[in-house]
């Protein structure tokens, strides 16, 4: 398209102005992440929190909401996540936080986390056969968020005792008779810290005079002890979950609590 169509461009500019998050104003999130692919954005989020990255015990988890906040288009996130899940690159897990809040892990990280977690909890014990088979057979094909009885027992020949063992290890959660959620072992620890961090930030914003805070000012504060993953990780999570709204102002990006 030639340069002449300036009016269409200005229409596009208006479109951009109304996007969900005005990050590009102060380079808060790099441009190539905002308009790039979902995989890069996932890596970017995992790198945001030094605690998750270096503690070793924490699984390398990103929330789907965080992607909404980091990337410019929510549609791109949904379609990208769906595509990556179908190709088996990532795994999506249901959480207890809310209906639309899903955890995302790279499949490689997930497998690594399960084996490490097993070694840490059951010292000296040998990895049971069913877990090895689960890792090899079930996780090698791109499955959904749930596992069905037909798939697990009829197709792959797992016994009932094997399923009990897998639930004990924490890779499956009971959903219904004959269907299970895929799960991350010891994810509760992560979710607890995430929830506490959310509460801490909302508390900070509530205590300010006008119930809104400049994002840069928030970053320069000393994080409270309950905030383990760092401000950026939590703020992206809050914005994506529509708990905090981002407002573009002359002094920078303001954060305000939704429905407050």
């Amino acid at each position: 398209m030639s340069k002449r169509f300036s009016s269409l461009k200005s229409a596009e500019r208006t479109k951009k102005k109304c996007e969900f998050v005005p990050w590009n104003l102060e380079d808060l999130v790099p441009e190539h992440i905002q308009n790039g692919n979902v995989q890069d954005a996932l890596k970017y989020i995992c790198d945001l929190s030094p605690y998750i990255k270096h503690s070793g015990e924490m699984p390398l988890i990103a929330m789907k909401n965080q992607l909404y906040s980091v990337m410019a288009s929510r549609t791109a996130v949904d379609q990208g996540v769906s595509h990556l899940r179908e190709t088996g690159v990532i795994r999506v897990f249901k959480t207890s936080l809310g209906q639309d809040q899903f955890c995302i892990m790279f499949t490689i990280d997930y497998i690594k986390h399960i084996t490490e977690q097993f070694k840490a909890t059951c010292k000296g014990e040998e990895q049971p056969k069913c877990l090895t088979r689960f890792l090899e057979e079930v996780l090698s094909n791109p499955t959904d968020i749930t596992v069905e009885k037909e798939f697990l027992i009829d197709k792959h020949g797992f016994k009932d005792s094997d399923v009990t063992e897998l639930i004990k290890i924490g890779v499956l959660n009971v959903k219904d008779a004959g269907s299970w959620w895929l799960a991350i072992p010891s994810v509760g620890c992560f979710l607890k810290l995430l929830r506490k961090g959310r509460q801490a930030i909302i508390q900070i914003i509530r205590r300010t005079k006008y119930r809104e805070i400049n994002y840069k000012m928030l970053l320069s504060r000393k994080p409270p002890t309950s905030l383990k993953f760092g401000f950026q990780y939590h703020v992206h999570d809050l914005i994506g979950a529509d708990l905090v709204r981002c407002i573009n102002s002359t002094t920078g990006v303001l954060l305000r609590i939704v429905n407050d």
Binding site: S7, T14, S73, R74, I145, T146, S179
Partner: protein
């Protein structure tokens, strides 16, 4: 002035006239502002539905909680002195014809303005003769009717699909029979919509969160039950698949009938592929919606794949969303209560919105208003008593913000 390069490109054949039109229309829609135009004798109580006549977008028919039906002429001359849309006809006071309870929906007969159909909470569907403003047929269903729809393209049938409690009922305008039931929903059906492509394809949304597609010719009429997760969560769920986690308040087809937009009380909108029933995963973000038990009416500006805009009632605001990318293009906030319906005039690009406790508001593109005022100024300069009108217009357009505050 920014249109001039585009106009030149159009003249030398570098840009298709349709593209030129799309660009200008899109820009105008993004500049919608509330006008001071009013609707004559508009009852302040809630307007539950309104529609422009589908033939030449001239007559706006509105119904509401006061059981009154009014028809307004929206073709006013560009003269600024007429700032209200005159009422051409109304049904009021004629007790024996009126509906007994709140009228929920009104629709013009798709092919001419001689007839319109209303449905109400008193469980009746009435077909009216516009010229006499009297019902020619009353169909008694005995269940509250939340919504109805007549197929806009049907050549071989004249069925009114009506959402009455848990069933969808097909009322035949030719025979007056209301016997045909479509069973499948488990809670009140809130919205019914015929496809604009296939005259036998019907989409219905209900309070149980299910969105069903029906082929009304078949004995087993449910074609598809749309699933928000595309079958990822729970394939063997006995309760069936859900399109929304709350109730489905509103449905809208795109112009060629290949996509269906749904809006639910889980504060999400979803775009569905009508052929496969798949969720296209377009994410519109969170859009306020706390009407669980009643339908809302969205409007759409059809303009191809790049610039189709949907007007969505979202709490006290109206959201403008791009249909296919899901980005939010703007918000119109002028109402003080919950917006219930939107109606769009595709020729003049005007938007009509009605809220629970206020008058119908008329929104026009800002550019068009500015143009009009320019013409009027020129006209009024020659006239004598036109200055006050010009002043009024310029005062409206004036920026009243000042440094001293």
């Amino acid at each position: 002035m920014s249109f001039l390069p585009l106009l030149q490109a159009c003249q030398i054949g570098e840009c298709h006239p349709r593209f030129f039109r799309t660009v200008i229309e899109h820009k105008q829609i993004l500049s919608l502002v509330a006008t001071d135009k009013e609707i004559q004798h508009n009852n302040v109580a809630s307007t539950s539905a309104m529609e422009l006549d589908p033939v030449d977008f001239r007559y706006l028919i509105a119904v509401g909680a006061q059981r009154k039906i009014t028809i307004h002429n929206t073709w006013t001359s560009s003269d600024c002195s007429i700032s209200c849309l005159p009422e051409v006809a109304s049904v009021d006071g004629q007790r024996k014809h009126q509906h007994k309870k709140t009228i929920n929906y009104v629709q013009w007969y798709p092919h001419d303005t001689g007839m319109f159909v209303t449905s109400a909470f008193d469980g009746t569907i009435k077909i009216w003769d516009t010229n006499h403003m009297k019902p020619v047929e009353t169909m008694d269903i005995k269940h509250a009717v939340y919504n109805h729809h007549i197929s806009p393209i049907s050549a071989s049938h004249s069925l009114i699909a009506a959402a009455s409690s848990v069933h969808v009922r097909l009322a035949d305008m030719r025979t007056g029979s209301t016997a045909h039931l479509l069973k499948g929903h488990r809670d009140n059906v809130l919205y019914v919509k015929w496809s604009p492509k296939d005259e036998f394809l019907l989409a219905t949304g209900s309070e149980d969160g299910r969105l069903l597609m029906w082929d009304v010719r078949q004995a087993k009429a449910i074609l598809l039950s749309l699933d928000q997760h595309n079958g990822d969560i729970g394939g063997n769920d006995a309760r069936g698949t859900k399109a929304h986690s709350g109730s489905v308040n509103s449905l809208l087809f795109n112009e060629d009938g290949r996509y269906l937009l749904s809006f639910g009380s889980d504060e999400r909108m979803r775009l569905w592929n009508c052929e496969s029933g798949a969720n296209t995963l377009v994410n519109y973000g969170r859009i306020d919606n706390n009407s669980i038990h009643r339908p809302l009416h969205m409007a759409i500006h059809h303009s191809g794949a790049s610039a189709s805009v949907v007007f969505v009632p979202a709490g006290r605001q109206v959201f403008l969303c791009d249909l296919y990318t899901g980005s939010c293009l703007g918000r119109l906030s002028e109402h003080f209560s919950q917006v219930r319906c939107c109606e769009h005039n595709k020729n003049t690009l005007d938007l009509f919105t009605a809220a629970e406790k206020s008058k119908i508001l008329i929104w026009s593109p800002e550019i068009a208003i500015a143009d009009n005022s320019g013409i009027d100024e020129a006209k009024f300069e020659t006239g004598r008593n036109g200055t006050s009108e010009t002043d009024r217009v310029s005062r409206l357009l004036q920026d009243t913000w000042s440094d001293s505050d």
